[in-house]
Symmetry: C2
Subunit: 343 residues, 2 copies
DNA sequence: GTGAAAGCGCTAACAC
DNA sequence: GTGTTAGCGCTTTCAC
């Protein structure tokens, strides 16, 4: 039959030989680059198919200085935060955006020092072509990563107090304003807020949006407690709010998880939602549907956030210089708020 | 100062030159392999430090046929399932186990056909040294992946009706038995169950555990509905159960999410939990703490599952032939069940 | 349009 | 112990 070729995985050389061309022609044909006659091109492609040839990524990477991988780094310390459905949705979006390319996704949890070190190691050894970086707290030294490397970095959300060259973010400030305006329009007046850690830009922006709306409505915005975006944190903050401001009649929580915690506390305190207290969350996670009552919230397009980050990074790698992208947030009204007329 | 060396990233050759040794000695010193005198070893390490040398992973991979990456493939179609806190915890466990190695984690969502194709592509081109594969349904062709490649595959959970060479799994059957026994001991008698998709081994095993316990208690085990591990699915299944078996006084749901859905339906139907109906879940996700009442459930060590998968894969890559690992599950009693004496 | 040949940066025999 | 050398499999000038 055939010359007894060993059953090792075929190389470009095997393809070239079988197609009766040189290695350089085979390479050009495979990568659709340079000039190759149609005859030879076809012969090469047939050989590729027959042999089941797959290029060796390491060899290619070595020759081209492109590894065909991007990393998603999530700067989160505790599993609790990462376990949030939020990141899963981001990852899903990225994954779909990468599916049709032959770029691979490397995931790094860069919250703990070991993880951050690993990320730096990846960067220094150029094990990836680019980085998507999320969930940076204000003081995180990783925020400076973009300046320390030539590898392109796309931020998911802005690091606090910085305006990176490339990022994708939700319009958090507007979203929070929408949420608060909705409470005002529903006739609530003594509106409190539960913020996330103000070392996160996203928390800061949502707090701003709350104050924007309160200022416009000429309502006092002093009923404020800070938490950490978690359900437990939201529950505790709600309790503090109720103690400090027993007269409050609504609360805007900067995440659905915190809103869920707030609902729990309100129930424990015997405050009826939405009749005595209106509650609005942020994110529109599955959580928002599972609470009782269901949460009025602000939907941010989380999967799209991931997909857009990936797309932005890929375009940068293709030589394009995109501009930052701000995704819109919109209000979703459910049972945890009700117009004054109906209460 | 120095000879005008270009500012490109240093190579092994640069290190060797600076340390005054040959490249092979430098390589041996760096990889702690073969014989190198202490003097030269020290010189090499100093040169490495001074130059900030980092080995080029592609070159190393090309030479050693080891790429220093493992993939986690999750065979999940819909974002909803992946968004489950479960996978996030698994990933966290894997990530921690990998932190101290210089092995990188590649994530592939292999549920959609494009994702599965991508996984196969990774395997064929050997872009990774090994695979962790999770959430396989009974009919998923990926289950055969392990037989089609020499790349080691560690399964997270068993594929239905198969006993792969390497896997890490929770003792789902025992866990489900514990859950059901707990209901029996609490004095519930007309105990129903909501299963996951029986095309998943994990659902099948938990269903078995339920029947085991019911058989031992000599109770009828015909109050059964099937769902898909989701909250919505659990809610719907609970409604079907209540219609078909209005007399039921307890339900074992094969996941916390389904149990949460069941709670929602029970509340809507005006059945008091735990006094009229006892409810037990499975997983001990954060969800279990956020329901009202909190869920009695079966805790499985999810982070450990991820960590053990990673450890198992690494040990295989080190030439060890480990045996499959079954992790224990244990009962966690909370408010959704109550002994008959207290009801 | 095509092919020869020189690397990419590393490791691993093998001879000294 | 140490250095020389031959690859790993690919891309990419550069002549023809």
């Amino acid at each position: 039959m055939d010359t007894a070729s060993s059953p090792r995985t075929p190389t470009l050389e095997d393809v070239a030989e079988r197609a009766g061309v040189s290695r350089s022609v085979a390479s050009r044909a495979i990568n659709n680059v340079g000039n190759v006659s149609d005859t030879k091109r076809a012969a090469v492609h047939r050989a590729v198919r027959e042999l089941g040839y797959v290029p060796n990524p390491s060899a290619r990477a070595l020759a081209t200085n492109r590894v065909g991988a991007v990393v998603l780094a999530v700067a989160t310390d505790e599993p609790g935060i990462f376990a949030d459905a939020f990141f899963a949705q981001v990852i899903y979006g990225i994954s779909v955006a990468l599916e049709r390319t032959d770029v691979t996704l490397t995931l790094v949890l860069a919250g703990r020092p070991e993880g951050a070190a690993k990320l730096r190691q990846i960067v220094r050894s150029r094990r990836a072509d680019g980085i998507m970086l999320m969930n940076l707290h204000g003081d995180d030294p990783l925020a400076k990563l973009a300046e320390q490397t030539t590898m392109p970095v796309v931020f998911g959300g802005r690091p606090l107090g910085a305006e990176p060259q490339w990022y994708v973010d939700t319009d958090n400030r507007s979203g929070a304003r929408l949420a608060t305006e909705h409470l005002v329009e529903a006739g609530y007046r003594r509106i409190a807020t539960i913020t996330g850690q103000l070392s996160l830009d996203v928390a800061e922006a949502r707090y701003r949006g709350y104050r924007d709306a309160m200022a416009v409505a000429e309502l006092p915005a002093h009923r404020v407690e800070h938490a950490d975006f978690s359900e437990a944190g939201g529950a505790a903050a709600m309790a503090r709010l109720l103690e400090a401001h027993p007269d409050l009649d609504a609360v805007f929580a900067a995440s659905d998880n915190m809103a869920a915690g707030a609902l729990r506390t309100l129930r424990a305190w015997g405050r009826a939602v939405p009749d005595e207290v209106g509650v609005v969350g942020f994110d529109d996670l599955p959580t928002a549907l599972h609470t009782d009552p269901q949460l009025t919230t602000v939907r941010q397009p989380i999967e799209a956030l991931g997909a857009e980050m990936a797309r932005m990074l890929l375009s940068i790698l293709d030589g394009v210089r995109p501009t930052p992208l701000i995704l819109p947030a919109r209000l979703v009204v459910r049972g945890s708020t009700r117009p004054a007329a109906d209460r």
